[in-house]
């Protein structure tokens, strides 16, 4: 197993390099560049740039250099912690831009994750073991609503509902007096009042899907012979279900969980835009749209690192959970 882990880490490093190169190429792929965006912006404010001025901007941003020069500049900085500057945000360092958002994003996403899984697994199990009962039907209906109604619509409706019916102030995560203040219990309490909508929306969509997956896989397992055997041995039903059946039905779910790691920092982009959450998703999205190459590439690297880590962890957990699975 140790050998396997070491080998995987080796693969990870190689994959990261490949991702860095390919990803950067893709980011620079669309014609036009950030300069396009900047020139447009300046022109709309009345600064008609002459060709000389455009050239000087190109030099300043290094856009005259071929792409591999920019790439090298970025990646050599990246490995020592300098992630470059952002064009859109007036040359503020990428590092501070990402750092500001990261903690909050991780907090919201992790909490939603726990909530979603905490609900989805028991509900899925219940649904599978109590098929064709009234509660199962009710759960199924709610699941379908959660699946089919887009989360951005749910977010909007929930916000309107909260404002008009509950009379609550929606918007952002902090009230004015806490925004610039350092973290305190009061600030945390203020955030809790506002953060329930984002968490509810994010969890609602994913819970439905997860519980149905749980249900389907568990139904498979419950039909297996060894479950009959366990029952005939006189084991309590709950032990049969949880200790034997669920454990064997978990495989795809473990993979899904591992795959959610990058999502924890990117967060749900569309919902975040609608709810105006200061999370990483919208910033990554804008960076890609406006070809803010260093910002986008840095995000890409972080997300990829997490993604690869998530896969590795999932694979290890899988082997730990199921003794039949062996890696050579």
């Amino acid at each position: 197993m140790i050998n396997y882990i070491l080998r995987r880490i080796g693969y990870m490093l190689v994959t990261l390099v490949i991702i860095a190169v390919l990803g950067y190429i893709i980011i620079e792929l669309p014609s036009g560049s950030y300069l396009e965006y900047e020139i447009n912006r300046l022109r709309q404010q009345g600064g008609n740039l002459s060709q000389d001025q455009i050239r000087s901007l190109e030099i300043r941003y290094g856009l005259n250099d071929p792409a591999y020069v920019r790439f090298w500049k970025w990646i050599s900085g990246f490995v020592v912690g300098d992630f470059g500057v952002s064009f859109q945000y007036q040359q503020q360092p990428v590092r501070s831009l990402i750092g500001q958002r990261l903690l909050l994003t991780i907090g919201i996403s992790t909490f939603s994750l726990f909530l979603a899984w905490g609900i989805a697994v028991p509900v899925g199990v219940y649904s599978a073991t109590h098929r064709y009962t009234i509660p199962d039907y009710i759960i199924t209906v709610i699941q379908f609503l959660g699946l089919s109604i887009p989360s951005f619509l749910v977010a909007l409706v929930l916000m309107v509902f909260a404002q008009r019916v509950l009379g609550q102030e929606v918007g952002g995560l902090f009230s004015e007096q806490y925004r610039a203040a350092p973290w305190s219990f009061a600030k945390f309490a203020d955030m809790l009042k506002k953060v329930w909508i984002p968490i509810l929306v994010i969890a609602f969509g994913s819970t439905a899907g997860l519980s149905r997956i749980m249900r389907a896989n568990l139904l498979d397992v419950l039909g297996m012979q060894y479950i009959q055997t366990a029952r005939s041995k006189g084991l309590k039903e709950s032990k049969v279900v949880w200790k034997h059946a669920v454990k064997n039905a978990m495989h795809p779910l473990i993979m899904i969980l591992g795959g959610s790691l990058p999502g924890i920092i990117s967060g749900e982009t569309v919902v975040a835009i609608v709810l105006n959450l200061p999370t990483v998703g919208p910033m990554y999205f804008q960076a890609q749209m406006n070809q803010d190459v260093y910002l986008a590439a840095s995000f890409l690297m972080f997300l990829s690192i997490l993604g690869l880590l998530g896969n590795l962890i999932a694979d290890i957990v899988l082997a730990w959970v199921d003794p039949r699975i062996r890696y050579e």
Binding site: P30, E36, R43, S56, Q90, N276, P278
Partner: protein
């Protein structure tokens, strides 16, 4: 519903006196040097106080405390000797309170709505130009030398003196310095390759010497708010030198320098605006507190601003912004670009619960959603057709503007063929001007599909076998409308109506949505045909930002002609002549290319070049009329739909001194960025009723 306020004779005289800056009308023929100092005329008729000789009297209790404890010098020392007097539109305000805003833009963008850094300010919706942080100014007889007198004792927000050295620092280290420059502002253009010369005569007197007469200088300096939109004009020299690699070897490039003097992203950076930023997180929020050294007072001598601070929340999403307004989290907002008139009903319904008022100020747009062809498209057959006035006129006559006005604009605004703003001086200052505007406006404004079909038949675009019209030579004609895929809903709405209208006269229309990043390069290279999703915002003077009238850049209707101008006087001029204009890098015409000389654009260029150096006001206007005549006979180069629609303004019921439409000189002129709204309404005079 909206009418352009007519300029009366008195306003016109005021205007000419101010903007000519002391030049006697050339018809008088005098040549001696006569200097006229403009008079401060900010207050409307009903406020009695005399603006001159206002003694500093009151200050905010917050600041008074700090004076008492020794943190700040007393009021008289903080204000310049002659502070700028701004008159609130309703009443003298009360100190105190904090405003809340939800900004669609960059979190620190509030500074863009304040006039503090500008040497001069527009007043009365562009009818006049008045002092900003400059106390007075004058020009010589031919307007080639301008002298500006700064306020003695003017200070930055950190208490350091603000002098002409700060202007020169900007000019020399940030504009002229090749390592650092991002270009020369259009207020100080190079004429014939020669830049103007800025000299500090003393600490408070600045002289600008142009190589040629520059009568528009005062108006140009009043454009934008500077420091945020447009070029800086002034930078805190002592503070900035710390980060300048020329003066401090710790820094190797200008990146940190530019960040540290940018008041929109660096809290605590010295500035001249009413509020200064104290906290900021990109994309989230910014917090602003009053600037204790702000150089403006009200007529009673109280130091402005009244309001203690502003808390801005970034809200790029339109729906989110709407909800913020409806729950009362917005004290005022003028930048309501994300909203459309379709959202007004929801806003009106929520006024009670949210404790706010919806007001409408005119945008002053020449036209709202508009369309234009690519005058310089690569394909010669198309180029010929898209330059044919009858083809363009037919497309304009086919548009049912009444429907567009009703469905998209809720019966606001004025139907128009498409021109510069109806509030522009050249359209207003006398009867002839007004007739000129009407002629332009009504040129192809009627909904006359039958006449449109006739016109198309006349030029040979007859209906072919498949039921659609063809090129004059019989080949298939498909008009492809290229639109950036992220175009606003309003653009799509109007487009769907327009598409139906044009299909009804037999044109085959195809809408092609392309990724936004790809749009610019393709348009400039003459690959795209027909464009929308834009407005003609500009005014108040055709010549200040003339890009819609004169093809001087490559984003609008004549990209290659514009590229010719952009490359004039650079190393590119006269090169790559063996290549076709569309193959050149960048794609551009040369002065001798037939595609350029055979069009009407050289005439437009020549008229413009003449106009900007013409010191005589009336002669300038006549030149502008000639330019518009070319548009009317050789064009239209762009077609408009509905112009001067209202801008939605949100004002909390607790806030006063925010003008209503009737209190604005021309009813509002929100669209052009060169007349900066809300800066021109003096947000520093807004005050809470129960502070």
């Amino acid at each position: 519903m909206s009418e352009t306020k007519k300029m009366d004779r008195r306003s016109f005289l005021r205007l000419s006196a101010l903007t000519a800056g002391g030049v006697i009308l050339a018809s008088c023929g005098k040549q001696e040097e006569e200097v006229i100092t403009p008079v401060d005329e900010t207050q409307p008729e009903d406020v009695v106080t005399e603006p001159e000789d206002v003694e500093p009297a009151g200050e905010s209790p917050v600041l008074a405390e700090k004076v008492a404890s020794g943190e700040l010098p007393p009021l008289a020392e903080r204000l310049p000797e002659v502070p700028l007097v701004l008159t609130p539109v309703n009443t003298i305000g009360k100190f105190g309170g904090r405003m809340k805003m939800a900004h669609w833009w960059h979190a620190g963008g509030m500074a863009a709505g304040m006039y503090g850094h500008s040497p001069l300010r527009w007043v009365d919706d562009g009818l006049g130009v008045e002092p900003g942080h400059v106390e007075s100014w004058s020009a010589n007889a031919d307007t080639s030398v301008w002298t500006f007198n700064f306020r003695k004792g003017l200070k930055w927000s950190d208490g350091s003196p603000c002098t002409t050295a700060d202007v020169l620092y900007w000019w020399e280290e940030m504009v002229l310095e090749p390592e650092h420059s991002t270009g020369v502002p259009s207020e100080l253009p190079a004429i014939g390759g020669v830049l103007p010369v800025l000299t500090a005569i003393d600490e408070y007197t600045l002289e600008i010497k142009f190589p040629a007469p520059s009568p528009l200088t005062a108006k140009r300096l009043a454009m934008w708010t500077n420091g945020t939109i447009g070029f800086r004009w002034i930078a805190p020299a002592e503070y900035a030198k710390q980060f300048n690699p020329k003066f401090n070897s710790e820094y190797t490039d200008y990146v940190d320098h530019d960040i540290m003097i940018n008041q929109q992203i660096t809290p605590g950076c010295p500035c001249l605006t009413a509020w200064m930023m104290t906290a900021f997180t990109e994309g989230e929020f910014s917090t602003w507190e009053r600037n204790p050294y702000y150089y403006c007072v009200d007529p009673a001598g109280n130091q402005l601003p009244y309001v203690d601070g502003v808390d801005v929340q970034a809200s790029p999403d339109a729906q989110f912004f709407l909800l913020q307004v409806m729950q009362g989290s917005v004290s005022w907002e003028v930048y309501t670009y994300q909203l459309t008139l379709g959202d007004v009903s929801t806003l009106l319904d929520g006024q009670e619960a949210g404790n706010y008022e919806v007001r409408f100020w005119d945008t002053g747009s020449g036209t709202g959603m508009m369309y234009f062809w690519n005058h310089d498209i690569a394909d010669p057959k198309r180029r010929e057709l898209y330059r044919n006035p009858k083809f363009k006129g037919a497309m304009s006559l086919a548009l049912n503007r009444a429907d567009i006005k009703r469905i998209v604009y809720y019966d606001t605004g004025t139907e128009t063929t498409g021109s510069m703003s109806p509030k522009a001086i050249e359209f207003n200052f006398n009867d002839e001007a007004r007739q000129h505007y009407e002629k332009f406006r009504t040129l192809y404004v009627d909904y006359d599909p039958e006449r449109a079909k006739e016109m198309l038949d006349e030029i040979g675009c007859t209906v072919g076998d498949n039921g659609f019209r063809t090129f004059p030579d019989g080949s298939e004609l498909i008009v492809r409308i290229d639109i950036g895929a992220d175009a606003a809903g309003e653009a799509i709405q109007v487009l769907e109506i327009a598409q139906k209208n044009w299909t009804d006269i037999g044109l085959q229309i195809v809408v092609n949505q392309i990724p936004p990043s790809d749009f610019g390069p393709s348009w400039r290279a003459g690959q795209l045909e027909f464009r929308t999703a834009w407005e003609v915002g500009d005014g108040p003077d055709h010549l200040l930002f003339p890009s819609w009238v004169v093809a001087d850049e490559s984003e609008r209707w004549a990209p290659l002609c514009g590229a010719l101008r952009l490359n004039a006087g650079t190393a590119n001029e006269g090169t790559q002549l063996d290549l076709s204009p569309w193959d050149r890098t960048p794609a551009r015409f040369d002065v001798n290319d037939p595609e350029y000389t055979e069009s009407a654009i050289p005439q437009l260029h020549a008229l413009y070049d003449q106009a900007i150096f013409e010191p005589d006001e009336i002669k300038r206007m006549e030149l502008v009329w000639q330019m518009n005549e070319i548009h009317m006979t050789e064009g239209p180069y762009f077609i408009g739909t509905v112009g001067n629609t209202p801008r939605i303004i949100i004002v909390s019921k607790d806030l006063e001194n925010v003008p209503t439409r009737d209190q604005l000189a021309l009813g509002g002129f929100c669209n052009p960025w060169i007349i900066p709204y809300p800066a021109i309404t003096n947000p520093e005079t807004y005050s809470f009723k129960n502070a």
